[in-house]
């Protein structure tokens, strides 16, 4: 059964009397244990699609279902808090907090069941993603782009959610780092049974994903 599904999702911008459609009648299903990539040209609506399935925004028409239930009924805020982890291209970390504290923020927000020793779990998670304890205690502004992206990934994982959504996660990192991040996503999908959906324009990333979807003229199709 699909963990996440879009049903006839339409999204448009109102421009005076006319509408500029970004997504039209898009229906797609995502399952656990699979690493998805969504490809598309700049401005094709990849990020909009991701913002809809991560409940950062709501569709104009259609519905998004989590385990068969409309996320609107779950509550967008509740859905973001307990069901998805989001990784942004620009990391979106809290600048005056350390790497560890950024992870702890997400852990304090979620209502999912987490171990008591949150700090230790956060250190281990950062270590697992490749950030040593010495760096975990540094303010995030003192870390490199790649390190900051690791923190963002650790934060997305820290809430023990089933779905990891990433918007151009390798956009600001070098090739070596890109590969490392892809490896993490593969591991999350295959070893931890997560549903990983990555929006990217990188062919290298999409080639390594289990399934690639292509967003073209407002429709999401299997890549051929």
């Amino acid at each position: 059964m699909a963990i996440l599904e879009t049903k006839n999702v339409t999204y448009y911008y109102q421009d005076g009397d006319s509408r500029r459609y970004i997504l039209e009648d898009t229906s797609v299903e995502f399952e656990k244990g699979i690493f998805y990539s969504i490809l598309g040209q700049s401005g094709s609506g990849k990020t909009t699609f991701l913002s809809l399935i991560s409940a950062l925004d709501s569709p104009a028409e259609g519905e998004i279902l989590y385990e068969g239930r409309n996320i609107k009924d779950i509550g967008y805020e509740n859905f973001r808090r307990n069901k998805v982890g989001i990784i942004f291209q620009s990391y979106n970390l809290i600048p005056y907090l350390t790497a560890l504290e950024n992870v702890l923020v997400a852990m304090s927000v979620t209502e999912n069941e987490l171990p008591e020793n949150k700090e230790e779990v956060a250190y281990n998670l950062l270590d697992y993603i490749g950030l040593a304890k010495t760096k975990a205690d540094r303010p995030v502004t003192k870390l490199s782009g790649g390190e900051q992206q690791r923190v963002a990934i650790a934060r997305a994982l820290a809430t023990n959610v089933d779905i990891i959504l990433a918007d151009e996660p390798t956009g600001n990192v070098d090739e070596a780092m890109e590969q490392e991040i892809v490896n993490i996503f593969k591991k999350l999908a295959h070893e931890h049974d997560k549903c990983v959906i990555v929006v990217t324009h990188s062919k290298e990333v999409s080639d390594q994903s289990d399934e690639t979807l292509y967003l073209y003229k407002g429709s999401l199709k299997d890549h051929e």
């Binding site: 925004d57 709501s58 967008y76 805020e77 973001r80 307990n82 979106n92 304090s108 927000v109 979620t110």
Partner: protein
């Protein structure tokens, strides 16, 4: 890492912004604290003075209202209202607000054998005074057996007793005299004195003034049943007790109203009989009416306004209720002006603070908009996002407000010193007091406030009362809360995508 901890970390790690916010709130807080302190100082004066004065009221003709009515209708000026009669005064005195009441009539009498108390200077210039022998003593009536000035601590009973209800009702010849008059004439309780009501013929009133001839002398024998002494302030200057001369005060003899009314009527009857034109029965009845000065003491100064409202409804036109604290508003004008100005300053300061702090918070939030979007993208509740910002601003504000509470108070003290105290003391002239002081004296006698600018200045205190601290914190924090919540709400009402974009 909940929102409270995040707020604390934000304050401690973004020191320059926290300091800037602190300074802005501190400066605005000083203006607000100063204005509140000045207002409270002025309110304290009013409360203290009114508590000291108690709640003493009287009912008199409202001259100003008659003047206004005359000006509005010059063709038919209003008739002077007749005196208030005992039935109405007793009805008013039954009010639940009233602790005790009295109404009194007065009459000047002379005496053949009783010596008027005089200072040596007075004795010298009054040797040739024709009238003082006819009116040397002031008879003051009462309907209140325990005697109001004794019961209310304006005088002490040195010997004997006060009146019985029976003596008051029948107007039997008994009297209370002052200790000074008793000593001057070597009198004691149980002694008898005789006062004389001289009915005089003044002759031709147009010609030069000549000594009047006595047409009738009515002797009033009185037995002294009590001797009292007025409470005087030790520093009273110029043989005065308040605005009353000592001789006037010491030569006052207290008797039942009925004793006086009998003499007033005898005199009135004589003068009516001497009139060339025959008066109608109604005019005669009018001429024989007794004029009373009433005095009502209320249970609490807080009841004054309610009593005034209740009483005014019972009064005939052109009568008004006066209190012994009415002159407060005239003497304390500089305080009230300053208080008024402080109120305006406070309102402007609150408005300016809301505007300035809102702008500062908005400026800070512009930098932090992205951060708020991150919290929202993580699913943090909007209420907690707002709470974090509110906690940050409020914690800084509490420190700034606490400090400005102290400094603002000092500023208010400095301002008050120059604006209020100096002005109050400079405006008072002991030899030419405000006319309201004389009016007070005439209306309330020993119950007059005798208030001076110095009394007001003495009571003008700016201090750290719990009310001041509480009010300042409430106003300060409410201002900060409004200034913070509104711009924060403006951001969090958006969806996270809009905030992060």
């Amino acid at each position: 890492m909940n929102y409270i901890k995040r707020a604390l970390l934000s304050i401690s790690r973004k020191k320059s912004k926290s300091l800037l916010l602190f300074l802005i709130i501190f400066i605005l807080g000083n203006v607000m604290a100063g204005a509140i302190a000045i207002r409270q100082g002025a309110n304290n004066v009013e409360t203290n003075i009114k508590r000291q004065l108690g709640a003493v009221l009287t009912i008199e003709v409202d001259n100003e209202a008659i003047e206004r009515a005359s000006q509005e209708n010059p063709g038919s000026p209003p008739e002077w209202p007749g005196p208030l009669q005992p039935d109405l005064l007793k009805t008013i005195g039954q009010s639940s607000y009233v602790k005790s009441f009295d109404y009194t009539t007065q009459f000047g009498l002379g005496s053949e054998n009783l010596q008027r108390w005089m200072t040596p200077e007075e004795a010298e210039w009054s040797m040739n005074d024709t009238y003082s022998k006819f009116y040397g003593f002031q008879l003051k009536g009462t309907e209140y057996p325990p005697v109001m000035i004794i019961e209310e601590g304006k005088a002490t009973l040195k010997a004997g007793r006060t009146f019985s209800q029976d003596e008051i009702s029948t107007g039997v010849g008994v009297a209370l005299i002052t200790q000074q008059l008793a000593d001057y004439n070597n009198l004691g309780v149980g002694d008898n004195i005789v006062l004389s009501n001289y009915i005089l013929d003044y002759g031709e009133t147009d010609g030069p003034m000549v000594e009047p001839t006595i047409t009738e002398r009515r002797d009033i024998p009185l037995q002294i049943i009590g001797i009292y002494e007025n409470i005087e302030s030790p520093e009273e200057p110029n043989q005065m007790v308040g605005q009353i001369s000592k001789s006037e005060l010491y030569n006052t003899i207290i008797v039942p109203n009925q004793t006086i009314i009998a003499e007033q009527q005898a005199m009135n009857e004589y003068y009516i009989s001497q009139m060339e034109e025959e008066l109608t029965e109604e005019q005669k009845a009018q001429a024989m009416l007794t004029y009373y000065t009433s005095l009502f003491i209320l249970n609490s100064p807080d009841d004054i306004e309610a009593f005034k409202e209740e009483t005014q409804a019972l009064l005939p036109p052109f009568y008004k209720v006066f209190t012994n604290s009415d002159s407060f508003s005239i003497i304390a004008a500089p305080v009230q002006q300053t208080s008024k100005m402080a109120s305006y300053v406070l309102m402007v300061a609150i408005g300016a603070s809301i505007l300035i702090i809102s702008l500062v918070v908005m400026l800070f939030l512009r930098d932090r908009k992205h951060e708020l979007g991150i919290y929202m993208s993580l699913g943090e509740k909007r209420s907690k996002v707002i709470s974090q910002i509110v906690i940050e601003v409020v914690l800084v504000a509490i420190l700034a407000i606490a400090l400005s509470l102290v400094t603002g108070n000092f500023i208010a003290q400095g301002l008050s010193e120059s604006m209020v105290r100096d002005q109050l003391i400079a405006e008072q002239d002991p030899f030419n007091p405000d006319p309201s002081v004389w009016e007070d004296q005439w209306r309330f006698g020993q119950f007059a406030s005798n208030m001076t600018g110095e009394d007001i200045a003495e009571n003008y205190r700016i201090n750290f009362s719990p009310a001041y601290i509480g009010l300042f914190f409430i106003i300060g924090l409410a201002t900060v809360l409004i200034s913070t919540v509104v711009p924060t709400l403006y951001i969090v009402r958006l969806n996270p995508k809009q905030v992060l974009m």
